[in-house]
Symmetry: C3
Subunit: 323 residues, 3 copies
Amino acid sequence: MKSAATTLPSNITRANGTLRHLLTLEDLPRATLESLLDDAERFVRPLSSPPARTNSLAGVTVANLFTEPSTRTRVSFELAARRLGADVVNLEVQLSSRTKGESMLDTIFTLQACHVDVFVIRDSEVGVLRLVANNVEPHVSVLSAGEAHLSHPTQGLLDMLTIRHHKPNFEKLGVAIVGDIRHSRVARSAWIALRTLGVTDIRIVAPAALMPDADQFSGCQRVESIEAGIAGVDVVMMLRIQKERMQSAAVPDAEDYFSEYGLSAARLACAKPDAIVMHPQPMNRGIEISSEVADGPQSVIREQVSNGVAVRMAVLETIVAGR
Amino acid sequence: MKSAATTLPSNITRANGTLRHLLTLEDLPRATLESLLDDAERFVRPLSSPPARTNSLAGVTVANLFTEPSTRTRVSFELAARRLGADVVNLEVQLSSRTKGESMLDTIFTLQACHVDVFVIRDSEVGVLRLVANNVEPHVSVLSAGEAHLSHPTQGLLDMLTIRHHKPNFEKLGVAIVGDIRHSRVARSAWIALRTLGVTDIRIVAPAALMPDADQFSGCQRVESIEAGIAGVDVVMMLRIQKERMQSAAVPDAEDYFSEYGLSAARLACAKPDAIVMHPQPMNRGIEISSEVADGPQSVIREQVSNGVAVRMAVLETIVAGR
Amino acid sequence: MKSAATTLPSNITRANGTLRHLLTLEDLPRATLESLLDDAERFVRPLSSPPARTNSLAGVTVANLFTEPSTRTRVSFELAARRLGADVVNLEVQLSSRTKGESMLDTIFTLQACHVDVFVIRDSEVGVLRLVANNVEPHVSVLSAGEAHLSHPTQGLLDMLTIRHHKPNFEKLGVAIVGDIRHSRVARSAWIALRTLGVTDIRIVAPAALMPDADQFSGCQRVESIEAGIAGVDVVMMLRIQKERMQSAAVPDAEDYFSEYGLSAARLACAKPDAIVMHPQPMNRGIEISSEVADGPQSVIREQVSNGVAVRMAVLETIVAGR
C-alpha cells in the first residue's frame, strides 16, 4: 500500500518511497491518502472510552513550533504525539518578518541539534515550511500545522475521515465549502483531498470579494448564493469568517453576514436531508453558523476534532516509521 | 465514608453518589470534606523527602485551562496530576468576554473530543464553571482552580488541612480572616469550610469598603479594627490586597494600608500566643503582612503550599476513582 | 576527581564536597570543570543517532524559571532534564523589579514546597540567583541559565567542550571574543573558563564603547580592530549584538556594524586557517556574522547547541548525584 508513495516528489518522500514530510495534500496520491485514513481509523475511539495509545514514537522528540497562536491545534498535536509515546516540547516563537526565513532556519537548526526528530510547524507565511523541509537533516521530518492561506493538510485529512465515516462513496458526493474561501487554508486542503478521492461536485460558496482568484480551485463550481450553493449537497463545510474580512465582503456587521451567508436551520434544509455539517473551529456562532445547526443532529463538528487527534497520530506514526 | 456524598446535589455527584465535580465547597457535607482531608493527609510528605506518587490516574488526561494567569496555582495542579500518573496539558486562553460562555464551551468540547477527562479551570467570571460542568460528557469532571470572587475550593481544603494539623479541635477555634474580604474567593471558601467543620467564632476583619454585602458571610462577626478582630484567635488568615483596592478602602498607599491593616509582630501579639498565621500567596510583604511575621515561627504559609499539592492529588484521585 | 570540589566555596558545594549549585564558573577549580566536561562527553551523540538517555533523575522535579524569555535555552534545559528522567515544569514569570528579590524568593519557596528539587533560573538582575541559592533548603540546587551581564555557566561549559573537541591543547590556544563584551554574560563565562583551562592568549575585540571597564577581564588583551584581534587565533567567538547597542558603539546601523565588526569570510582569513568559529545564538546574520561564515566549514555553531544539551545533562546529574 505504501508503495504508491514512490510516485511522490522526492522532497516529500524518502529514497525508500515512504512519506517523510507532510506540508500539503497536493502531491499525495490517492492510495497514500487512503492509507493514512485507514491508519487513522485504527486510532478512533468513542468519547467515553480511553484514547488509543501506542509506544511507536518512544524515544522520538517532537517539537510543536507555532509562530501564530493556536492553543487548540497545538493541544491536538501534543496529545497525538504523547499518546504515541513521544517526548514533546512546545514553542511559541515570534520571528521578525524581515528575517523570517533565516530566523526560522536557525531556530530549527538549534532544535535539530538538540535531537528533535519531528517538527510540527504553524506559520503565517507562504514557503517557510518548505524552506525548513528542504534544509533539515535526512532523519528529520516536518509536519505542517497550517501554512498561511495555503495548506492545512491534517485538517484536510480529518475532514476526509469524517466525511468517509458518514458518506463513504466519494464519487457520488456533492460538497459545498462556504465562507471566506479566498483566505482559507482549510478550504484549499479540503478541495485537494476531495478531488483526490474522486469527488466531482465541489462548490465554493462565497461573496465575490471572498472568492479565490480565477486560476485557483480548478474544477469547483463558484456560487455566490448560499441557498443555491448548498442545494442538494451531502456535505456542507462551513469556514470561520474573520471580522476584518466582513467589510471587504461588503457586509458591514455580523448580523448582516449571518443573514447573507450564515448557515441557519432554514437554509440547511436546501441541502439533502441527511447532509452533514462541518466546521474547522473555532466557530463564530451566530455569524457564520447558528447554534441550532452547530449543535444539531446533522453536525459532525465534534467528531472532526476527535478524528483530528487520530489523523495526527497516523501521520506522525507514518512519517517516523519510514525512517 | 464516601456514602455521605449521596446527599450532594446531583450536578456535583454521580448517580453512584461519588464526587464528580468540585466547583465549590458550599454543598459539601462535613463527612465528604473530612474524607478529602484524610485522603490528602496520605499525600503529605516532609520537604526533604520525595513527594508522594501513585499511578491512580494512569491513562487519564487532565487539562489545566486558565483564563487568568496564575503560574503558581497551575504548577501546583500540574504536579499533583502528574504525580498521580496523569497526562497533563496546559492552556492559557483569552476568551472574548462578550461570548465567554459559548467560546469556553466550544473550547471544552474540542478538548473533550481529544479525550480530556478532567478539566481544571480558573476563570474570572461567575457561572462559567457551572456552565461547563452542566454540559460535559458523563465521564468528564470539572475542578475549579478559582472562580471570580466566589470560590476556590482546593484553597479552602488546603487551608483546613493546615489548620487541622495544628488545631484539630475545630469546634473550639477562633478564626479571623483579614483583608479584602469583599473580593476574595479565598475568604469565601475558607468561611464555608470553617462552618462545615463546626467553627463558630469566625471574624471577618476589613475596612468598611472591603466588607462584603450584609447578606453574605452569615454567621461571621464583622470587625473593622484588626486589633479587635484578631484578639484571642487561634488562626489569623491574611488575604492579599490588590493595589487598586487600597484607594476604595480609603487608604491611599501601601504604607497607610500596613499601618491600618497590616499584620505586624506587635499586632499578632493580640492573638493567642500559639496562633498560626496563614496567607494564600502571593504576599505583598510590607503591605498586608510584615516579613517578620510571614517568615516567623507562627507562620504556616509554606506548609499551606505543600498541603495544596496533597489536597489537589486527593481531589483528582477522588473524582476519577468514582467513575 | 570530584574530591577537587572540596576547595569550592561552601555556598556552592555541600559538606561532602560535591557540587550543589552552579551559578558561575568563577570559583570552579580546573579539575571540577574538566570533570564536568568529561561527564558531558558521555552524553554527546551524533545528530542522526538517538539522544543519550538515563534514568538518573527519576523522581526528581526540575523547574525552569525564566524571568526573561528565551525559548531555545529553556528547551535545551527541558530536554536535558527529561532525558535524565526528571519531571519538568516550565514557568515564565514577570516579577515587579521593585520587589524582585522578595517576589522571587516567595515564588521559589512556593515551588520548593511543591517538592521542586532543582531550579534552573534565568534572570536579568545581578544577585537574585545567589539570593535564591542562599535561601533554599539543603536538598535543593540552583542552576543558572543566565544572570544579567554576569554569568552563563552552562554556555561557558558548552563552549569549552566544543573547543576541546577541536583544539584539545588549551595552553597553546589563541582565542578572540568579538562583539559586545561589555554587556555579555557569554563573554564573561567564556573568559573565566578559558583562564581556568590554561589559555593565556585571550583577546577581547570590541569598539571602545562596548569594551568592559578596565578592572574586568583581567589577563585579556584589548583590541579595537577586528582584523588585529583575530590575527592568528585558533578560536573566534562571536557575540550577538543588540540593535540598541549599535548606536552607543558609534555605529548607526547594521551595515556599518558589519563593515566594522562583522565576521566576513575575508576577515576570517586573518585567523589561523583551521580556526573554528563560534556563536552563542541567536545570530544576527549579516550584522555580526555573515551567513557564509556561519554556515561555512569552520563554523562549529550547531555543534555548540548539541554540546549544550550534553553539558546541561552532566551538570544536572552531578548536582543531584551529590545529595
